[in-house]
Subunit: 352 residues, 2 copies
DNA sequence: CTGTTAGCGCTTTCAG
DNA sequence: CTGAAAGCGCTAACAG
């Protein structure tokens, strides 16, 4: 049974046999150890080439106790360009470290998130970057005792300690609302996620704070909640527009809501200023003015990867270091309306 | 040295010791083998719970020779919504099979693609889904002798045999061009990728075939090439519009070109019909008519994952089966222009 | 139904 | 500088 091997997958022993050295010498050459004679190094390299040998990373990981060079990424919806950009940033940061990303899409299902965490831990990932789907991550405490470090993205950890990377939700909403106020708006509606969602409540807080600072009132019926889909946002915007005194501007807490609101305006043939989180392509060619809050999702991913790298095996951060938190800044971009006589520029940027 | 273990990572032996059975019995229980007595099963399950034991998938993979339950995905640009949707479809198809996706972004660099293939093979992925960056994949033959099966997406394999999933590039371009002809256009310009890119040449072929069938001439200067970025597309479109007899419609082979062409029209205050591959959000609210070719990128990913599943360990396809090819159909969607008096519908679909 | 033995492919450890 | 022995955590193969 000694010779019953697949021809295409040689092992280190076969390389050793061909090179007439021990497996250890081959192992040393493969890892670039300096303690190998020039002669042996060449013999081994030749044998590797002849056999088309490729080291088995799984076997290596097993022996090296958990050094798998893999990182888990759990997102709620890869179809959202925001998460795609996040994944891109993470991959770009980790690949040069020789680490690979294992991708999981939860479709917003907390149970699926929990399963994924368990499975990734089983696969010995060295760390996990998590965009949480549910309200709490307390389960991580029992799921990962002594397991891989976790970095959370987009909302702070709840029920557990972990590093995290956040967007300046409050500041961005505050700045965008200020831009609307500066443009002379006094009747400003709000279209957003339910307050149970972290980003939704933070952005609502920023919105309210700006209004309050300006002494501008916010009638109860100017506040509408919608889900993350166009239809629900359109319906909510319709309600705003149907008010006896409709708002002259609407602030939306996410991309879907912004575009839904625009469609409602267009269908009702109303001109009002649209404002919201997340820039989008063609925002500058719409028939109403658009003011958006934007930020660099790829950079968010890079930050998350760097935080994680610090916690992983070989990282620079002491495990006793307190949870770290990075807040990524936002920028307000004002797009002129298509038929407007205003500035013709594609976008006017202002620091948040 | 027997007890020098990290408390948080128990092994199967510790579970066995606690349950007072052998490691094999634990292993059997974990995998749901029916040949375990009820008593022992309960003892083991209790011990697992007490210790918080989680099987080590790396050790399992090593023993089970390559059954890692991982698949490699190599794309050129995750930031492109098309690839994000592709990844989503692949993940959705593989996750229920207990397989995880290892993601790699090549940024269009063939050398990076080759490195990624080697690394993924080293990590013992059971298969690879590849959106090729370079003109040939001949290197796979020497890189993967007896290695994991590969499925290509978006363009057919070159220099090697492999299953692949393609978009009906020819048919889509043909149908879209026919739609322009049916709308009465006789001066139709072409804005596309260099013909060295598979999709570019196929779409050009479809475009030409439709014109030829209709007996409509295609002047040389009606054909312009652009890269996959807005600036280059805008410049190329400018040239088309600057012709003595400019086209009344422009067919573009990709999303970036379509939007670039639209920006050129808008800047030059010209009304012409825009047509192109890939639908995009807000296409229906532009100031000119837009006719796009669309297809389901997520479904493309699902098809790719299914083809791969057939070739992987435990798959249903004999390895001697000839390379399979799936062509995903396209749909032509006509969006009415914003100020037009035509149909008010969001989009008129027609089978390609 | 259960356990023992052996070994996946590699690297740590220690002895030359 | 080199190699032999042992074993990472798990499971196939066999024997009871």
């Amino acid at each position: 049974m000694e010779t019953a091997r697949v021809p295409g997958t040689p092992t280190i022993r076969e390389v050793a046999a061909l090179a007439q050295v021990s497996a250890m010498t081959v192992s040393r050459v493969l890892r670039g150890s300096p303690t190998v004679s020039q002669t042996n190094r060449e013999r081994v390299e030749a044998a590797v080439k002849v056999l088309g040998y490729r080291p088995n990373a799984v076997a290596r990981s097993l022996r090296q106790r958990h050094r798998t060079g893999t990182v888990g990424l759990i997102v709620t919806n890869l179809g959202n360009p925001f998460y795609a950009a996040l994944a891109l940033g993470i991959e770009a940061e980790l690949a040069p470290q020789g680490r690979r990303v294992m991708l999981t899409n939860t479709a917003g299902d907390p149970a699926s998130e929990r399963d994924a965490v368990g499975d990734l831990a089983s696969r010995q990932v060295e760390g996990i970057i998590l965009v949480p789907a549910g309200p709490t991550q307390a389960y991580l405490a029992e799921e990962l005792p002594g397991g891989p470090p976790v970095v959370m993205v987009g909302r702070p950890p709840s029920g557990i300690d972990a590093d995290c990377v956040l967007v300046d939700d409050f500041g961005g909403a505050h700045a965008a609302t200020n831009a609307l106020l500066a443009a002379g708006h006094r009747r400003i509606g709000f279209l957003g996620n339910p307050p149970s969602v972290y980003t939704g409540s933070e952005r609502y807080r920023g919105f309210c704070a700006a209004l309050e600072e300006a002494g501008v009132p916010l009638p109860d019926d100017y506040v509408r909640r919608a889900q993350q889909d166009l239809a629900s946002a359109e319906a909510a915007a319709d309600q705003l527009l149907a008010l006896p005194e409709p708002p002259t501007a609407i602030f939306c807490t996410n991309n879907r809501n912004t575009i839904g609101a625009y469609r409602a305006l267009r269908r009702n043939q109303v001109v009002a200023t649209i404002s919201g989180f997340d820039d989008f392509e063609l925002a500058d060619v719409l028939t109403v003015p658009v003011t958006v809050v934007t930020y660099d999702a790829e950079s968010l991913g890079r930050h998350a990867a760097r935080l994680l790298a610090g916690r992983m095996a070989g990282g620079d951060v002491d495990q006793s270091t307190l949870p770290r938190r990075i807040v990524v800044p936002t920028t307000v971009v004002t797009h002129a309306a298509l038929p407007s006589a205003g500035t013709a520029s594609r976008g006017v940027r202002a620091e948040a």
